[in-house]
Amino acid sequence: MTEGNGLMLELKDVHTFYGSIEALKGISIDVREGEIVTLIGANGAGKSTTLRSINGLNHPRRGSIRFEGRDITNASPHSVVKMGIAQSPEGRRLFPRMSVHENLEMGAFQRADRKGIREDMDRVFELFPRLQERRTQKAGTLSGGEQQMCAIGRALMARPKLLMLDEPSMGLAPIFVERIFETIVEVNKQGTTILLVEQNALMALDVASRGYVLETGTVALADEAKALRQNEQVRKTYLGED
């Protein structure tokens, strides 16, 4: 795998700490252009920490992160966003007192092309017609599913090259989960590379091309999504099959 192959994001032996707690103990992950890559693993395995390391909220103490050939190991969150990585963070983290519309605008904070922003706003409303109906509503009063849509839409407003989603299906009814996953595939088809963290391993492996299984801060398994679905251990632990 070289950059000529469309290698977009590359984590090499990343160690990230919270104080003295080592949450990531040497993680290496690749994401190629156009892919959907999924990170699965038990609670506390370090999935969210991996995303936070990438977008600059928690800098790794060791190891390196490269995006499109540039080193972003110690980059600040805003420069990471500017380079084209957007995130829908764990727990959505909308701005609760801003309207849906304002939240979406915040997603485009780093951009100055008004016309493009308007186009993307239309696109988000096309993906989530429900958001359009609720445009002026305060985000904090949206239902869980609507909030998730808003969070994904907000991340899309950055027109990212790489979209990172942290548990987009969390707490949603099955019908909503399906809707969200359809949207993820749709967004990917429109040309956005996706790094997807999921508890719902079955669905995640269905839409992803490759997957990584994290275990207490290390990569336990890395393979094609299809192969992981067949993997005995994964089936037992994460897919709830015997």
Binding site: L57, P77, H78, R93, P96, M106, F109, K138, G140
Partner: protein, 465 residues
């Protein structure tokens, strides 16, 4: 921190008003009609109480009736429904009332308990503090950064003007467009107008210098550091007559710097005035109004800018803001600089008005006073903050003394009421927080914060930007 409004004991009144409202307006009146009705009702009640209780005690006053009429015109009609010009009606009316105040200040009636209307010189002080409060509101109300040392910026502004428009540095003899200063006078004498700009800029730079290391801190820590900074300032001023033991007299120590040049043009100075129309107080008063207008204008523009949106985002959720690409440090530092800028100008202007600056003017209690103004009026809302500032500064300089005199003479007491100023302000604040935690005139956004009941989640560390 979901704070609910506690208005339980007013509910029966409210219900009755609603019944009355429905009887008068019908069941499906629009919100505008209903608000107008409610406001009209309050105006009638206020007028009625005035007639019933105050008039027999104090006698009928034409001025009071006129004032009530002005209040009705300002408050009751739904001016904002007039397209385009409607939303300017209230501010413009209020502005013209303020601008003409020197002409009728002496003809006003006596407010029960509070006493006479403030004189024009007090008006200048009130306006200066309004300017400072609006500046602090950028830091506290917009960006949500608790600054307990705002007085430091006021001090820096004051001393900037004092240094460059007095005989403090007597071995120098630099004159640059001062007003009414003979060229033989030693010291540095620069035009006050230029110095106000300089004070603003210098203070903003200091704001940035202080901001860069401290704004990485969150909440409580930031408050403590700013508190320390605010405490250091008057000490530096007090001991600055022998600057770091070098013998260099920077601040003239506890004696302060006085006199300070007055603003003006050429040989015409505010201090001397011109005839009976342009009295010194009036000149200072009108200029203060212009400065407040400038502050309000800038503050509104900032609020509606991209930067303003970023401030609100940081206030709501710092981590999410960072994840959206808001550069935290830079954005917060701008809030600091902008707040400091107006504090500096206000401080400089006030020093020139008083013609003096002393270390004792810059103690911690002034920081608290300005913060109270912001909170009382309604954080984030310029009009609320302005009302809060004007009211508290009025109490500070005249109101409390008047009230004390009234109490003592009517109840046969002998209390020095102004001595308990901060206790009284604390009490006012507690009462307001209990019954109207969003402040007297909250911003639409803040109001939502109290009504929606959504709350902040704990954050992890994001200190970059």
């Amino acid at each position: 921190m979901a704070i609910r409004r506690r208005t339980g004991f007013l509910d029966p009144v409210r219900e009755r008003v609603e019944v009355l409202e429905r009887r008068v307006l019908g069941d499906d009146a629009g919100p505008v009609a209903r608000r107008t009705f409610n406001r009209g009702l309050s105006a009638v009640i206020v007028g009625f109480l005035g007639m019933l209780i105050l008039a027999p005690l104090y006698g009928f006053s034409v001025a009071a009736i006129l004032a009530w009429l002005v209040f009705v015109v300002l408050y009751v009609p739904p001016w904002e429904v007039i397209p385009r010009v409607g939303r300017f009606v209230r501010p413009l009316l209020a502005l013209s009332l303020a601008a003409t105040y020197p002409f009728y200040a002496l003809n006003m009636f006596t407010i029960p308990i509070f006493g006479a209307f403030p004189d024009v010189a007090t008006g200048v002080k009130m306006l200066v503090f309004a300017m400072m409060a609006i500046g602090l509101n950028i830091v506290v109300g917009y960006a949500g950064l608790l600054d307990l040392g705002y007085v430091a910026f006021y001090a820096i502004g004051s001393y900037t003007v004092a240094w460059f428009a007095s005989i403090q540095f007597a071995h120098q003899n630099i004159h640059f467009w001062p007003a009414g200063v003979p060229s033989s006078l030693p010291g540095i004498h620069i035009s006050i107008w230029l110095l106000l700009a300089l004070a603003g800029i210098l203070t903003a730079i200091v704001g940035v210098i202080i901001g860069l290391p401290t704004l990485r801190l969150r909440g409580d820590y930031l408050a403590i550091v700013t508190l320390g900074f605010g405490e250091i300032m008057p000490q530096v001023a007090r001991n600055g007559d022998d600057f770091f033991g070098t013998g260099f007299n920077l601040t003239n120590g506890p004696n302060g710097i006085t006199p300070i040049d007055s603003p003006g043009f050429g040989s015409f100075t505010f201090l001397a005035g011109h005839g009976s129309f342009f009295t010194p107080d009036r000149l200072f008063f009108w200029t203060a109004i212009l400065l407040v207008l400038f502050t309000v204008f800038c503050s509104l523009r900032l609020r509606d800018s991209r930067l303003g949106r970023a401030w609100i985002a940081i206030r709501e959720d710092e981590t999410a803001a960072a994840a959206m690409g808001v550069p935290l440090m830079r954005t917060k530092t701008w809030a600091y600089a902008a707040g400091a800028f107006f504090g500096g100008i206000a401080g400089g202007y006030y020093a020139s008005f008083k013609s003096a600056t002393f270390p004792g003017d810059f103690f911690f209690n002034i920081s608290v006073l300005i913060l109270c103004m912001v909170i009382l009026g309604g954080m984030g809302n310029i009009w609320g903050v302005m009302v809060g500032a004007l009211f508290l500064e009025y109490l500070d300089s005249e109101g409390l003394a008047n009230t004390g005199a009234w109490l003592n003479s009517n109840l046969g007491l002998n209390i020095d009421v102004p001595k308990y100023e901060f206790g009284i302000f604390g009490l006012i604040l507690v009462v307001v927080m209990l019954f109207r935690p969003q402040g007297l005139i909250p911003s639409a956004r803040r109001k939502a914060e109290f009504e929606v009941g959504v709350h902040d989640e704990p954050l992890y560390n994001a200190t970059h930007g």
